[in-house]
């Protein structure tokens, strides 16, 4: 069966520090991978998606970046965090539009 792992579950980081959130998928090959952010009181915002190794599409300009070094690994990074980067980050994968997304359990990031 397919599983998705996302860590850490919570993170408190000072302004200006770097960020690395990791997401891995098991039990499937060549998934579409996504990073979403959910700010307090707001809906889900698509940040990045990837259809293959090294292929990253950015939906929203910001100080975040994403990488896909392996088929089932998706990393969200920042060199210098801003206060506005606080939020709940969700990784997801899909194979086709017919089956929807499977989401990770999320990372609560608080930038202080």
């Amino acid at each position: 069966s397919q599983t998705i792992h996302q860590w850490p579950a919570t993170l408190v980081q000072p302004v200006g520090s770097p960020l690395s959130l990791e997401c891995t998928v098991e039990g499937t090959s060549n998934p579409n991978l996504y990073w979403y952010r959910q700010a307090a009181g707001r809906g889900l915002q698509l940040l990045f998606y990837s259809v293959g190794i090294g292929q990253i599409s950015s939906e929203v300009p910001q100080n975040l970046s994403a990488s896909r070094p392996q088929d089932r690994q998706f990393i969200l990074s920042s060199k210098k965090l801003l206060l506005s980067d606080s939020g709940f980050y969700l990784c997801a994968w899909s194979v086709t539009d017919l089956y929807g997304y499977t989401f990770g359990s999320g990372t609560r990031l608080t930038v202080v």
Binding site: L46, L90, D97, L98, Y99, G100, F103, G104, S105
Partner: protein, 112 residues
């Protein structure tokens, strides 16, 4: 282009009474439609999906939704609310390219 509108940002129901969460969509193609539920500080869980088969879709936890093409709607219902149904619910539409559009979410409160 595609979009999804959840008509209610908050819904409050009494335990044991019916729940109705409204969702309207627009899509240039025959869409796939989904409902997700998110409990606090958790990832999103798929409740049900419509992928051009039966228009009445049954999901987990007693939820169901009906696809009405003439009304461009995909409303979510449950005959009898339970306290554990208190959560945020997202309606999602996808197109043939695998791009998913989330609604803004509906917060459900269940009172004893």
């Amino acid at each position: 282009a595609q979009s999804v509108t959840q008509l209610d940002s908050h819904v409050s129901v009494s335990e044991g009474t019916p729940v109705l969460l409204r969702c309207n969509y627009s899509s240039s193609y025959s869409p796939s439609l989904f409902w997700y539920v998110q409990h606090p500080n958790k990832g999103l869980q798929l409740l049900l999906k419509y992928t051009s088969a039966a228009t009445l879709v049954k999901g987990i936890n007693g939820f169901e939704a009906e696809f009405k093409k003439s009304e461009t709607s995909f409303h979510l219902t449950k005959p009898s609310a339970h306290m554990s149904d208190a959560a945020e619910y997202f309606c999602v539409v996808s197109n043939s390219w695998g791009k998913f559009q989330f609604g803004a979410g509906t917060q459900v409160v269940v009172t004893p």
